[in-house]
């Protein structure tokens, strides 16, 4: 009787352990993801910034995806624009991060290959203390050992309670286009 109990405990322990390690292997991540946003208006100075140190994590078992960008990591060509963006608009001292949490819909990692696949992603983007649901189509493909994810979506500053002062309102587009470019490797 004791022996059976022992075997039972052992098998539970082993299965728990293996499921844990399997979980750990299902994560793909990128520490140097590129996120670019642009809100330029024609005839006015370019309003564009990019970060190359965004984080993205994809769980290929549950297809959950999370991405994080530190707001201060966004670099503009014009340093004064960068300063105003941080201090007056996005208030990066109070809200230092932009986080997206979502899920890839109708996606099967076994069908993944070199040809780009259109995958719908649905989730929530949180920045400036406000959250907004985002749904967009991403292009996903296998890049050697890595999974490459590219895509774009539009958001409006108003969605996140970011007020644009009247004097610059016509120099900044109403819709901000966000482009992402991740290359996730197995960890």
């Amino acid at each position: 009787m004791k022996k059976i109990k022992y075997i039972l405990v052992l098998s539970i322990a082993i299965s728990a352990f293996t499921s844990f390690t399997v979980n750990a292997q299902n994560k793909y991540l990128d520490k140097n993801g590129t996120i670019t946003f642009e809100a330029s208006e024609k005839l006015f100075e370019e309003v564009k910034a990019q970060t190359q140190s965004a984080t993205a994590i994809l769980n290929i078992e549950t297809y959950e995806i999370a991405a994080l960008a530190l707001v201060k990591g966004f670099r503009f060509k014009n340093s004064l624009m960068e300063e105003h963006f941080n201090e007056n608009y996005i208030e990066s001292d109070t809200y230092p991060k932009a986080i997206f949490k979502g899920k890839l819909l109708a996606f099967d990692s076994s069908t993944l290959n070199e040809t780009p696949l259109d995958v719908v992603v649905e989730g929530t983007l949180e920045l400036h203390g406000k959250a907004k649901d985002v749904r967009t189509t991403l292009s996903v493909h296998q890049n050697e050992d890595a999974i490459a994810i590219k895509g774009s979506f539009n958001v409006a500053p108003g969605d996140f309670d970011i007020e644009i002062p009247k004097i610059v309102r016509n120099k900044i587009a109403k819709e901000v286009s966000v482009q992402i470019d991740f290359n996730l490797t197995k960890k």
Binding site: K31, N32, Q52, T55, N78, L80, I99
Partner: protein, 131 residues
Amino acid sequence: MKLKTFFTIALIAVAVVGLFSYKYMYKPHRNVAEEQITASISATELQDTFASSNDTTTDFSDKIIEVNGSITDIEKSTTVIIDDKVQIDFDSKEKINRTLSKGNSITVKGRCVGYDDLLELVKVDQAILIN
């Protein structure tokens, strides 16, 4: 004659105002190499200050700091991870010697961007290699 001096003064005034506003609008980016550091700290200490505070903005964000530790991972030619706790993104102009390899002890000077709580990593960008 009076009119001529008036125009000369006006022209100079416009030029001066123009020059100042141009300088203000197109001032250069921060120069990490020239700026004084606010702290010299180990990678572990740096991560602890961020991880222990609930708010991700601590005194170090957006400050120029010097960080030391040993390389635990090399992501790509311009990015290394030290002590599994701090991600260093080197300045694009910075030439990284190919001698950098895992296990090397390094000291870098850069701008602390903030704390990534998904990976529990502090990110430092525009870094230059000190040692």
